[in-house]
Symmetry: C2
Subunit: 429 residues, 2 copies
């Protein structure tokens, strides 16, 4: 049975207990949110995954993508990236490998961590197809579903499936004034498949079969937004929102079938449209957890898209998004290296913290409070302990020596906090 | 005469012509916005400053702070920082030096650039006082005004003055439940002075004299928010807003006197309160240009406050802020080095771009459009040219070689753009 089915039956699972405890919320309230589809716990029945709740009333979670491409494949590099994303606090990891050794890489990742693991199965199906000397769009329906079944048996916790890319969706793109068409990898592959084969997307046409597989292994569906806008110009257009309405229908079918489901969101979106995107996703998709990729709020900062994404993700999270996919400085340019992964995770953790302040999560408010007190007290050790990246903060602080521990080199004798404190001390004497 | 006085008289100055041309807006519309105090052009009459408009209907501008502290003073380092902030496109620079050689440093900065130069004169007055072997709070009223007059004669274009720190404001802080009291350097110095001398702030008591000086040299006032919140907990409290109402009154007096004026804003503010802060500043301060310091939307990311500030500044700019003060990764930890300055300027430029998309500035929309087209065409050179930091983007792109120019190592053969394009090509054949 899935966590959703247990919750519906009124049963509290050990996973729910664990999540309620770590989040410090009432387990019955959590169970109700799972039962109504507002929270998911992506945990494959075959795997000892750390129970992690995503959705209403919980901390905003972040995901980090790693994985090889045909151009860059090194299992050790991927495992080093995994170490880094774990060190800086990613809550989930997606293995997006598309190189020939993807099985080996996924197994190594699964063996090394128990945080929820996600994939995009159509990538593996694509690699499998090309390894048979076929072109990618000649992929069999069978390969797609076999890949999903195998991954489910292997213990993958959540999968991105682009079920919303349909013949109707492709027509919506053709009719649109988009500059960039389809920019989602899985979305583009699916669209190319549909056009080449002149048939409906198997993951849409055979959605009930997909639900059956996911239900058996409690694999959480992450409905991909294949038509997410690829640039500011294309944001929130008919094609994007039409696909969203399809996803909304699929959410209802998934929840009805007892399969946990979340929905993925844009993309490249102007800052003025981010909140509206979050609100309509929640209404259209029955308040299913929203998993956002960015949103990136400008296109002109390649090399710094961890920042453009942190801006969008902060507003998204504050407006109700539950799960943030990190974006690294390498986005749009190259496969991320270890430093990029670190920067991506940290920027995403910042966005999650900012969101959780908006959500008034008690432990987040306490952390902010404690930091303010530590700063006021010149308690540097406490500041480094509370910081998202205390090592870097310490390195900067220690880079310049000062004559007095009660200050730093930034303001020197002109330290504001010290001036007022010194005056208060003088008054007391 | 000041730009404001000319505008009121209906005269269009060469500075207005220049700004209208560079911003591509109607000069008469600009003149009206200057006349009503919604736009300022900080340009000292003694200096050949590049005319730069800040305010309504104009591009969002960014300022970078440099300068020594008592703990770190090296004129060459400051000039190297200046080169960097100019390279990455800062629109204005503030010299916040508080070391003994501050005159020399300011002169060197003034000689090397013609972008608007700002200062906080009370820092120099403080250095002058301590150099006379007095404690800083024994500063004479005379020294304060003499410093301002000298700086005005030297060609400083805008000055931050903490006129809103009054006996009433200090009482508001004493009555408050703030964790961090006063964290503005100039604000704390002024508060300590008031408490020590048991007298009203000379910059408030003698505000008309201050206006007289500024009018003579057309120095733009930047009314400092001495009570800006120093942590999330302290945001948007009675003390902060009470000071803002004082600043609102001072704006009216300044505009009436023909002195250009802008207002500085918070500080540390939860994401949910940023927009409200912008809106009330505009209503309270007669739509004077708003110059924001951050806002920082979380306290727990020391080492990454350029990101926390970019998040706050993007929302601030999108909600009407006109001028963004950069924050570097060194904030709260040490005096920024050259790399910190670079990162600070770039993060701030991103926030300005995001804001200008919200403001629908035509040249900004065109840049975003052109980037999308370049990306869709795999036109890497054009992408690097349009990027905020094309050098870094190129470095990342070139860090991994690919077998085909029409892709990058991120997705390799799974490039979404390429898959759809290849299909379209195949269809045409």
């Amino acid at each position: 049975m899935t966590q959703l089915e247990y919750a519906r039956k009124g049963e509290i699972t050990p996973e729910m207990e664990y999540v309620a405890k770590t989040e410090n919320i009432d387990v019955e309230k959590l169970r109700k949110n799972i039962a109504s589809g507002k929270v998911v716990i992506p945990k494959n029945v075959h795997n000892n995954t750390l129970p992690t709740g995503i959705g209403k009333d919980l901390h905003t979670k972040i995901n980090a993508n790693i994985g090889s491409s045909t151009e860059m494949e090194d299992i050790n590099v991927e495992l080093e990236k995994l170490d880094i994303l774990l060190k800086y606090g990613a809550d989930a990891v997606m293995d997006l490998s598309t190189g020939p050794k993807l099985h080996e890489i996924r197994k190594a990742i699964r063996d090394k961590t128990n945080i929820p693991l996600g994939t995009v199965p159509i990538y593996e199906a694509g690699v499998e197809t090309t390894s048979q000397d076929k072109i990618i769009v000649d992929m069999d329906d069978d390969i797609i579903f076999k890949t999903i079944i195998n991954q489910a048996k292997e213990g993958v916790d959540f999968i991105t499936v682009h079920c919303g890319i349909t013949q109707d969706a492709i027509k919506a793109v053709d009719d649109s004034e988009r500059l960039m068409g389809i920019v989602s990898r899985g979305g583009a592959l699916t669209a190319a498949w549909i056009m080449h084969n002149e048939r409906e997307n198997p993951l849409y046409a055979e959605y009930d079969y997909l639900l059956e597989i996911c239900k058996e292994h409690d694999v959480t569906l992450s409905l991909g937004d294949g038509l997410r806008p690829g640039c500011i110009h294309d944001a929130t257009d008919i094609a994007q929102i039409r696909e969203l309405t399809t996803l909304g229908r699929l959410v209802k079918r998934s929840q009805k079938a007892g399969v946990q489901v979340m929905v993925e969101g844009p993309g490249h979106v102007p800052i003025t449209q981010v909140k509206a995107n979050m609100q309509i996703q929640k209404t259209i998709c029955s308040d299913a957890p929203f998993y956002v990729l960015g949103p990136l709020v400008t296109d002109v900062a390649p090399g710094y898209d961890h920042i453009t994404a942190a801006i969008g993700a902060s507003i998204a999270g504050a407006s109700g998004a539950d799960f943030l996919c990190y974006v690294t400085p390498a986005e749009h340019l190259c496969i991320p290296n270890k430093e990029h992964v670190k920067q991506g995770v940290i920027a995403s953790k910042i966005a999650a913290e900012v969101s959780d302040i908006a959500k008034q999560i008690p432990s987040t408010m306490k952390r902010e409070y404690d930091m303010a007190v530590a700063r006021d007290n010149f308690d540097w050790e406490k500041q480094f302990e509370l910081a998202i990246d205390g090592e870097t903060a310490r390195k900067y602080y220690e880079s310049t020596s000062t004559s007095d521990e009660e200050m730093c080199s930034m303001c020197g004798d002109f330290c504001a906090i010290k001036m007022v404190k010194d005056h208060e001390k003088a008054n007391k004497n």
